[in-house]
């Protein structure tokens, strides 16, 4: 699973729509599963599944009918009941789609993209506008797609989502890739921006409440040593480190560093 992460207007959807064959590229070469998507070959469209940011469905069709109909477009579709179960829509399978909730419609989106048994699935901001609970449920569905052995291209502006789901992430802004790699690696070895410039170095954050009741936050490259020092002092003087926490750098830190640095550079 590959994640395309960036702020609104960074060019994520544009990129995905070029890959899906909806938009023409202005320059360069594009290859998806060995095809140029601009040719819009049926061969390629049989092998991909698309979850659009806002795709509609006939108001008067039920999920089971929609899936059976969509399945007929593909040479080797998955079983409709199996797909309904996979996205958790069995109970709503015979409800007209206009009566479904937003989350249920989104699950139908997943199901429709999946029913053709594609090798490659595009998920364009699959959880935008979801409440936290619906988002977790959608993540479960996405994980189950990955468990089926599908390649998935995910775009999102939620850092947590990219960190949670993606094996590799590209951070994009203004149509350019700022960094690319597994989330863990990006966090451990943040890329320098501009390239070759000074290392920003993402650091661990240790926070606690001191004896005056003030929150203290310290950043460090060596959390073990700092923690030892702090706890040693506290023990020696018989104090508690109230609300002690140690936070690893998150993808959010990498992201904020990179996007801030790139707009600074542009403004200069």
């Amino acid at each position: 699973m590959f994640g395309l992460l960036g702020p609104n207007g960074a060019g994520k959807t544009t990129t995905v729509e070029i890959l899906e064959g909806y938009r023409a590229r202005t320059s360069g070469e594009v290859s998806v599963l060995g095809h140029d998507p601009a040719n819009r070959s049926i061969e390629l469209r049989r092998r991909i599944g698309i979850v659009l940011q806002s795709g509609g469905i006939y108001s008067h069709i039920t999920p089971r009918e929609a899936l059976a109909h969509w399945a007929s477009f593909y040479p080797h579709p998955r079983d409709v009941e199996e797909v309904l179960a996979l996205v958790g829509l069995q109970e709503k399978a015979d409800e007209r789609s206009r009566r479904l909730s937003g989350g249920q419609l989104r699950r139908l989106d997943f199901a429709l993209a999946l029913v053709g048994d594609p090798e490659l699935i595009f998920l364009d901001e699959p959880t935008t506008g979801f409440d936290p609970q619906a988002r977790r449920a959608a993540w479960e569905t996405v994980r189950s797609l990955r468990a089926l052995g599908k390649t998935i291209l995910l775009t999102t502006h939620y850092l947590e989502e990219a960190q949670e789901l993606a094996d590799r992430v590209a951070i994009v802004k203004d149509g350019r890739v700022l960094a690319i790699g597994p989330p863990r690696e990006l966090m451990a070895h943040p890329p320098r921006h501009p390239p070759g410039g000074e290392a920003h170095g993402l650091r661990y954050k240790i926070a606690y409440r001191d004896s005056d009741g003030e929150m203290v936050e310290r950043e460090t490259d060596d959390p073990t040593a700092l923690l030892h020092e702090l706890t040693g002092e506290a023990l020696a003087s018989g104090r508690q480190l109230q609300e002690l926490s140690v936070a690893r750098p998150t993808l959010e830190d990498v992201y904020l560093e990179l996007t801030a640095a790139s707009s600074g550079e542009r403004d200069a």
């Binding site: 899906e20 064959g21 909806y22 049926i42 469209r45 049989r46 991909i48 698309i50 659009l52 806002s54 795709g55 509609g56 469905i57 006939y58 108001s59 008067h60 069709i61 969509w70 477009f73 593909y74 007209r96 429709l112 053709g116």
Partner: protein, 231 residues
């Protein structure tokens, strides 16, 4: 799918039949007027189940993102439009059948004397007006304004065609306009098949007018087709 949307079913199917019933009641006993009424309503039915219905549907499906989703599947565009056209033909055929039956049973008009002519005019009329409906959808910017756009075309065309078809004393320029639009020739052809008994040979010019509109409509429908809404 169609019958699951009661309002669409009403406007496409029931409304022309209501016109037929109302007109029939008003004109009862006047066979000359009834002979004019039945083919006029038949022509209007063809236009409402094709031009009006398709303009509505295409705009709706486009703005809702259904067309975009379909475009992402391996379904060839030609199959999709084939389905749309077959649906229009089926709906229209059903409706014409009801009107023919009503003409026979209630309005003292015999069975159509030229079935072949009836079929030719219905099929050419459906294809032409359906293509014009799809083409017209391109001109409609969003779903909210569809009713205004469609009625701005549909109502004047219906009025002028009915008027010229019914009245021999219509001013010449109005007659010229009506003859150049597709609906009046269609009503002429249907009238020939259902009422007057004038054969296909006497309505070839009418058929040509409808066909020219059809070619024009198909060209515009294919050329300007947009799969995505303006969002």
């Amino acid at each position: 799918m169609f019958w699951r949307n009661p309002s669409a079913a009403f406007f496409n199917f029931v409304l022309p039949l209501l016109f037929l019933a109302a007109g029939g009641a008003i004109l009862a006993g006047n066979q000359h007027d009834l002979d004019k009424l039945v083919p006029s309503i038949a022509g209007m039915s063809v236009m409402s189940t094709t031009f009006t219905a398709l303009a509505y549907n295409i705009v709706f499906l486009r703005e809702r993102g259904v067309l975009k989703r379909i475009r992402g599947t391996p379904l060839p565009s030609i199959s999709y439009f084939g389905g749309v056209a077959a649906n229009a033909v089926t709906n229209t055929a059903l409706q014409i059948a009801i009107i023919v039956l009503a003409g026979r049973v209630f309005f003292g008009i015999g069975w159509p004397s030229h079935w072949g002519e009836l079929i030719v005019f219905v099929v050419v009329g459906v294809v032409s007006l359906a293509a014009l409906g799809v083409a017209f959808a391109h001109a409609i910017p969003n779903f909210e304004s569809t009713a205004a756009y469609v009625n701005a075309v549909f109502l004047p065309v219906v009025f002028v065609s009915f008027y010229v078809f019914d009245s021999a004393s219509a001013p010449r320029f109005v007659r010229t306009i009506a003859e150049a639009l597709p609906l009046k020739p269609l009503i002429d052809g249907l009238s020939g098949a259902m009422v007057t008994g004038a054969g296909l040979g006497s309505h070839l010019d009418a058929l040509a007018v409808i066909a020219i509109w059809g070619v024009f409509g198909l060209y515009l429908a294919v050329r300007g087709f947009s799969w995505e809404g303006s969002r």
